[in-house]
Symmetry: C2
Subunit: 200 residues, 2 copies
DNA sequence: ATGATTTCTTGTCATTTGGCAAGTTGAATT
DNA sequence: AATTCAACTTGCCAAATGACAAGAAATCAT
């Protein structure tokens, strides 16, 4: 069986860095050499609750899901990760603390990864690359803010449609229950919203 | 009338930086000299929607509120700011774009501020201070994540009690309506939750 | 103080969502 | 193909919250 890892060339990653950093092509080439190809098999864990989120992964292909548990023990999906994004748990990674979340691959996932210390070394030695780190953090922050507002001021149906339109691929791999908990409703309600939606 | 600005000595700000940066006392002293004392009068705006969030303010005393409008034109409180925190609009400040939010003082506010360019200069020239910037961004991110989860999986009453316990001072200065929109409910509902709460 | 204005409370009823349980579907295992 | 199991749907009723409107309370300007 052919190992897809061998066919990866980091081109998508180079493009991604270009979008978020003023670094020259040469510097970007140097940066990406520090990253390792990384595979996470379907259903296996990229990060488990209680562990340290020490790996910073650029996801080139595949879908992942992060989740935690509320006080009643219910599983809550906190995020879905799609290609061309970065996967790690912010609080654990930067504060060097145990993660409250797990991150699991919903499909076979491929990407490029680096550990905390090496990444920090890059940030330290390459000023233009610091902009990359900050930009992604800000981007995540803004997206989260948007999500918070949408949870507060839109109906579950509106949120469902929005997720569906922006993230079609998620629906092919995530269970209804995990999508429901991401949207902040029960699987029962999501099932109703969905059936009602198709009637229209 | 005595101007409170003259009595400020940045001691609380020095302590705050110590908590978030490994910089030595001497370096911290150097950092704080770059900040100006800053007053925002009750009811006046620290930032108006459409402007650039260019000022990074450490709030020493006073309360502020940020808000925006949803698609139906309803005012939505996005955050409350209390002393010993930093006030600015992340997306606008870092992306150098127009702010979608306004930030208004609910009481007379005093603190220390610096502009984007000077702050970046500090980040560039003082590596230990970069840790401060990142730490606060991460802290805000984590708090926002927590808030998102609480909106999704706690009842309005639970959120109300939590806000009340953690932020007593807000309730002395914010209107019921602005608190309600922060909690994601109508002012009517908050009024009921409140009256029901006191009955218990 | 007076009246005007805003803020807050309360009543009534509609809508959304949840909880539970019974069914249905579909995929995996043998 | 039969069995089993998990995922999803649907019905019924309860709880939470919203919409609207009327009234009470607090605040503000004169």
């Amino acid at each position: 069986m052919i190992d897809q890892l061998e066919m990866m060339n980091k081109q998508s990653f180079v493009e991604f860095i270009k979008m978020h950093s003023p670094a020259t092509n040469d510097v970007i080439e140097e940066i990406v050499t520090k990253f390792q190809t990384h595979k996470v098999e379907k259903d296996s864990f990229f990060l488990k609750q209680g562990e340290l989120s020490d790996v910073y992964l650029f996801l080139e292909s595949g879908i992942m899901r992060s989740y935690t548990f509320d006080m009643d023990g219910n599983e809550i999906t906190t995020n879905f990760f799609k290609p061309n994004s970065v996967v790690f748990e912010v609080a654990s990674f930067f504060n060097r603390s145990k993660s409250l979340e797990s991150i699991q691959a919903l499909t076979d996932c491929y990407g490029y990864s680096i550990r905390y210390l090496e990444l920090n070394e890059l940030f330290h030695s390459i000023p233009e690359f610091r902009e990359f780190g900050r930009s992604l953090l800000v981007k995540g922050y803004v997206a989260l803010k948007q999500r918070t507002l949408s949870v507060i001021h839109e109906t579950a149906e509106e949120r469902y449609i929005q997720l569906l339109e922006s993230n079609e691929a998620i629906f092919q791999h995530a269970s209804l229950k995990s999508i429901a908990s991401y949207l902040g409703i029960t699987d029962t309600s999501l099932s109703r919203i969905r059936s009602n939606f198709y009637k229209k």
